[in-house]
């Protein structure tokens, strides 16, 4: 479904991605893990068109997307729950959700506003509140809800559990599992490594802008030395 090949991208002189290949089959749930600064968010942004890749390809259902503007990519069904949530602070919760629906582009959605509110009841009490004044966790729910409103073909999540209470994180993860079981393809970036490898089918480990490991999530999860090695910050005294 989503096929990323040899993606290279960076920021004025800095090469943050050095040829990453990743794919997500239809209905697959895939994790990407890596240390701070490994290039995970850059990968998502390069896929979504927020930054323009220097080379490599991104294909969704066989349609080439690399180099297209972000809004075109979003409309084609690749929807991101971005790092830092990026909710629209001046719009109300309700308006944020309505905006999400604009990305549908003719696809039939699994969720309408009711559905989202059922998934995240906390949002219901806050419908008329400007999204910028909500607590961190509430904003995270909104960001996920908004992406779901757009009837994604592949959902890209950048650390969705960030800032969520354990209960709420459970809730989100089980929601993701549920979405996956309904057939949604999901690419998940997560720092809560154990949780991520628990719920996903396959995983990639990236480091210094390259894929250094991949395999079934269950296998990765048991490889403790691997995780210790690639997920740590270099020693503070280095």
């Amino acid at each position: 479904m989503l096929k990323v090949e040899n993606l290279v991208a960076g920021y004025s002189g800095i090469r943050a991605l050095r040829g990453v290949s990743i794919d997500v089959a239809g209905g697959e749930f895939v994790a990407v893990i890596g240390a701070n600064g490994a290039g995970k968010s850059t990968l998502l942004n390069a896929i979504s068109g927020i930054i323009r890749p220097t080379s490599g390809t991104v294909a969704l259902d066989g349609h080439q997307l690399e180099g297209k503007p972000a809004h075109v990519i979003a409309r084609s069904g690749l929807l991101q729950v971005p790092e830092g949530r990026q909710i629209l602070p001046d719009l109300t919760v309700h308006e944020n959700l309505r905006l999400g629906a604009l990305a549908r582009h003719g696809r039939t959605p699994d969720f309408d506003i009711e559905g989202i509110l059922k998934l995240f009841p906390r949002l219901e009490e806050r419908l008329k509140q400007p999204a910028g004044t909500m607590s961190g966790g509430e904003q995270q729910m909104l960001a996920i809800g908004r992406a779901l409103m757009g009837a994604p073909k592949v959902l890209l999540l950048d650390e969705p559990s960030l800032g969520l209470s354990p209960l709420m994180a459970d809730h989100v993860f089980s929601a993701l599992v549920q979405l996956h079981s309904r057939g949604l393809s999901i690419l998940l970036i997560e720092q809560n490594v154990h949780r991520a490898l628990e719920v996903t089918q396959r995983g990639y480990v990236i480091d210094q802008g390259q894929v250094v490991h991949q395999g079934a999530s269950a296998d990765l999860a048991t490889d403790d030395s691997l995780i210790q090695h690639y997920l740590g910050q270099e020693p503070a005294t280095a």
């Binding site: 972000a70 809004h71 979003a74 991101q80 990026q86 602070p89 308006e95 757009g150």
Partner: protein, 299 residues
């Protein structure tokens, strides 16, 4: 006389609102102070003037001028602002001051060449010169047209911004461009649209004001720019009804000052008053603290 003067003030204020609405729209949505707004306003008036003098009826000319204003304003967005949006807001907001000022200088000087630095006016009788007597107050057909246009623009903007999907996109882009793009909104299209509408409004204002004051000259937009600044702030940024209210408040205050104070004093009182209003209510008459602008500071 006082009743007549208050009516005069309301009309003067409506004329300010006419000019300021398009300016406010661009500011409230994109945080850009479009210094070329006065230029667009002038170009439209001049365009209508050429059409009318070559035999086109004023109604057709007004529509054409409004469209011309929209097109010029859209061009300004493409030429002078589009590339700037890649930069962080505080960089973009300041740079935009200069690029739009540059655009204004270009437009004004083209107008200058076309009019040979002279003031022109619509031929006499272009607009029916009819007066009504209402309860002892004199009001012209043109003045009624101004009032109605301001009302129509206000309603249109409120409907457009808060009741249509396009308005939702517009406010989304205003709130965070990156996030809006991630939701499939094309910011370029949204910006262009805002500028087009703002230009159309400037165009309508240009024609009506040129008709009202019998004059079209290259510099006709300049005195309104200062007023427009004052009005968007007084009204509370981002508040479209606030803009109209502030304009009318300002128009009435100005008229009464002119009438009852010795020559030269009105400006002192008026601007001191503005200063005081801002001190008492730091976010304008109708503004909420949340709408505080960030020109010069990071979002």
């Amino acid at each position: 006389m006082i009743a007549q003067q208050i009516l005069n003030g309301v009309i003067t204020g409506s004329i300010y609102a006419l000019f300021a609405l398009g300016f406010t729209l661009v500011f409230s949505v994109h945080r850009v102070l479009n210094l070329a707004h006065g230029g667009v306003f002038m170009v439209s008036a001049l365009f209508a003037y050429y059409l009318v003098t070559s035999g086109v009826s004023i109604w057709v000319a007004a529509v054409a001028a409004a469209l011309a204003g929209g097109v010029v304003s859209g061009l300004i967005e493409i030429v002078a602002l589009r590339r700037l949006r890649r930069f962080p807001p505080h960089v973009m907001e300041f740079a935009a001051l200069i690029t739009t000022l540059g655009a204004d200088i270009v437009i004004i000087n083209i107008g200058h060449k076309l009019t040979d630095a002279q003031t022109v006016r619509f031929p006499f009788g272009t607009f029916p010169n009819v007066f009504f007597n209402l309860l002892g107050l004199r009001i012209s057909f043109l003045q009624i047209a101004v009032l109605l246009t301001v009302g129509a623009m206000l309603l249109f903007l409120m409907y457009y911004l808060y009741r249509t999907p396009v308005g939702l996109k517009l406010r989304a882009v205003a709130s965070s461009e990156k996030a809006a793009r991630l939701m499939g909104v094309n910011p370029d299209a949204v910006y262009l649209q805002t500028f087009f509408i703002s230009g159309v409004m400037a165009g309508i204002a240009g024609v009506l004001i040129a008709l009202s004051f019998n004059s079209i000259s290259a510099h006709m937009g300049e005195p309104y720019m200062l007023k427009a600044f004052v009005i968007i702030v007084l009204g509370g940024l981002g508040s479209i009804p606030g803009c109209v209210m502030a304009a009318i408040f300002f128009g009435v205050a100005q008229t009464l000052c002119v009438v009852y104070l010795p020559p030269g004093a009105p400006d002192i009182i008026l601007y001191s008053l503005l200063f005081l209003v801002l001190l008492v209510k730091p976010s304008g008459l109708m503004g909420s603290a949340a709408a505080i602008s960030i020109v010069g500071r990071r979002a």
